[in-house]
Amino acid sequence: MSRFHPGWAEAFCIEKLRKKCGVLCWICKEAEMEKKKSRRTVLKSGLAGTIAALAMRPRSTVAHEIKKYPDTLGVLVDMTRCVGCRSCEAACNREQNLPAPDKPFTDQGVFDEREHGQMRRTDETRYTVVNRYDLPGQAHPLFRKVQCNHCQEPACLTSCFVNAYTKTPEGAVIYNPDVCVGCRTCMIACPFYIPAFRYSSAFHARILKCVFCYDTRLKYGQPPACVEACPQEALIFGRRDDLIEIGRRRIKDNKSSYVDHIYGEYEAGGTSWLYLSNVPFERVGFNTAIPDEPILDSVKSFLAIVPMVLTIWPALFAGFHLLATRKEQHRKSSDSNGPEE
């Protein structure tokens, strides 16, 4: 059973409907037992409580099946190695023919930029950014590279109702602008806030994000431009399974240098991009509340009933209406017929 249920998805959970509870899972006994605490909080404090309760739930240890391509490729990012040179940003800019930046890529001042109090984010002019974290107790600042993590079961893909997204066997999550209608649902669905929207052009609206250099490199078995540019080999490219093995080896051999976790191995059902860090991931801006189950699991039951609701419900309720009003109509007609008899 999925651990991550936004309230609305939970309310329509068809899997639970099939179980013994009978009615909506709001009053499903099984769910009640499991989530007594969170339910009470929900009732007491509404939406804020829901969010808090969801975040507080214990991490599931149950193994789950992830659909994944064999020999899928990925990148391992070792944050202990990154020195913030921004070579990856420069390489990405050229590879993807992005507009020239306002400041050169040698400018380290960009690390202090804040927009709405947030560090730099990927947008239509940059598919990857590096952010600096000055943490107390660390001899050197830490740098975190942000780009699309290329989930194994991408939420953007699931949420897209025109199927603009594709997960390729090589591992890339790519996007077809020709069918995109610009609804931006993928921007909301992405647990990493990666897809960016081209707001600058009203007539050529499209989603922009890292595509793993699929068309120019990955398709041919070559690493993305950022990986090739990295002087420190903080980014290494390879089969995802090999990268996990390498990550584990680094953690095992240098226990004091790494936290015992590969971010992306399980998060959101696993991602093609994986991270190693020497500080707990939440301290360098990672969302550690992301569930291990694919985001898809949280919403698929809801999404599955959308067509049903749209097609069956109108007919069903129209039928109810007819049934309910038939008697009245009958009475009316019999009333009007009455005096004649």
Partner: protein, 161 residues
């Protein structure tokens, strides 16, 4: 005769053991080059002249050459197998850390070698080695302190000429 034979055997054993323990055929520091030109990133950067003499004066060979210089090793991971290794025929960085370009689909250099699965390429090895020390021992750490851009490099980094 038997006692004599035993002694002879012991002497043989001890001498052969000593031969193993002694760092044999260690590379002489005088044989080392005074400077090394690093010019494999010519697309974006001008060649870097690495002053080998200064560095070898400040640090032992094994500080950088792991176990290949035949002077023992300081790396805990290398020690497991290479504590007593002799000097390799090729002690240069590129002898082991190959410059990976163009990348092909990732293949392992030594499929039978389970210990060197995570060996950095030449670019990574040099930067990790240089910057690792420069950060901890106060050497220059800025990119342009070692690397001068070529015109292509300036364009890549969006620098106005």
């Amino acid at each position: 005769m038997i006692a004599h034979g035993k002694t002879a055997f012991l002497v043989f054993l001890v001498t052969s053991l000593m031969q193993c323990v002694q760092p044999v055929a260690s590379m002489d520091a005088d044989d080392a080059p005074k400077s090394v030109t690093l010019d494999y990133l010519q697309e974006l950067y001008k060649a870097v002249s690495f002053d080998h003499e200064i560095h070898s004066g400040m640090y032992g060979c094994s500080s950088c050459h792991h176990h290949t210089a035949g002077t023992g090793t300081q790396n805990e991971a290398c020690k497991k197998c290479h504590l007593l290794s002799r000097a390799s025929a090729d002690v240069s960085c590129s002898g082991c850390h190959h410059f990976k370009k163009p990348f092909a689909l990732p293949t392992r250099d030594h499929t039978e070698d389970i210990y060197h699965i995570d060996k950095p390429g030449l670019k990574g090895a040099l930067h990790l080695q240089c910057l690792g020390c420069h950060r901890s021992d106060g050497g220059p750490t800025g990119c342009q302190e070692c690397h001068d851009f070529t015109p292509a490099g300036r364009r890549r980094f969006a620098l106005k000429n």
